[in-house]
Subunit: 161 residues, 2 copies
Amino acid sequence: MQKKAGNADNFEIELDAQLCFAIYGAAHAFTRTYKPLLEPLGLTYPQYLVMITLWEEDDQPVKAIGDRLGLDSGTLSPLLKRLEQSGLVARKRDRDDERQVRISLTKRGTELKTQAAGVAGAIGKAVGCSFEEAVALRDELIALKQRLTKAGSEKEALSSV
Amino acid sequence: MQKKAGNADNFEIELDAQLCFAIYGAAHAFTRTYKPLLEPLGLTYPQYLVMITLWEEDDQPVKAIGDRLGLDSGTLSPLLKRLEQSGLVARKRDRDDERQVRISLTKRGTELKTQAAGVAGAIGKAVGCSFEEAVALRDELIALKQRLTKAGSEKEALSSV
DNA sequence: CGCAATTCAATTGCGCACAATCTAATTACG
DNA sequence: CGTAATTAGATTGTGCGCAATTGAATTGCG
């Protein structure tokens, strides 16, 4: 990336593009790394994330899972049906509030957590950095996400592009 | 790689999961931030990335774009057809090697770069960190991606998960 | 109570991602 | 030269991700 004399805009575009590419590439690399590890479990990466939230806390409504992962019902509804089809979760209407569908782990779904332990270990190896580095990276990403989310929720008065 | 006894695994799973969530969330937050800015340009986020590579260097074969972005023809073929439909790029077979399809910018595609300059500025603002911080984050993500990619290409002898 | 507004989930439609498969063109090699 | 292996791109099928719409249930308020 050659340093342009004077005009800072070009440089900003360069950096913006590079950050774009970097996060896009890193996220995809993550997915690709997980894929072969999750395949024997019969899970995709987003399905794995849903299972993690359920291993953390069983019997949640769809909305809660969506909030945790930043996904809406358009994504979750078919995904959860596939998990149900796989025999990992059960979907049932809440008695007290029939609008809600509560997702709970089946026996097989609960048991899968044990196998998933191996996955985490393999990923830790693939990430190839120390525990402290991983923590630092995690915190930076969380902070980045929060800044982006906050900026987005405040205003979109950028019409004069 | 902290190879500990069995019950330390829980801790690893936590961190693994958190890193998972963090990068997944950050990548999506990025996409969502871009979306309203790219809409007036008639571009999606992946289309924007393709345009950036073409602004960097015009008249590239599909393969080169795919290598740059880590995408295969299954993704790029329809995406490039939509860009062609939008009048931003042209697709033509290479005379010397008829297997290749070279993608080049149209007049409109070239001109769009000017408008895109505003996008980068808005994103820089949304990211809300200093230039140095952005550079550091970019480098960390690139390093993370490279570690993951390398680990993935070496071996997949994790069949005993 | 009765009706409007809100909330939750499902559905539809479009655009990625990617594996697997296919065709056509090029290169390698005996 | 001719056949095999390789390479580029397109196609098909599955699964996200998200906007927009729909429909049912619940809540709010007079």
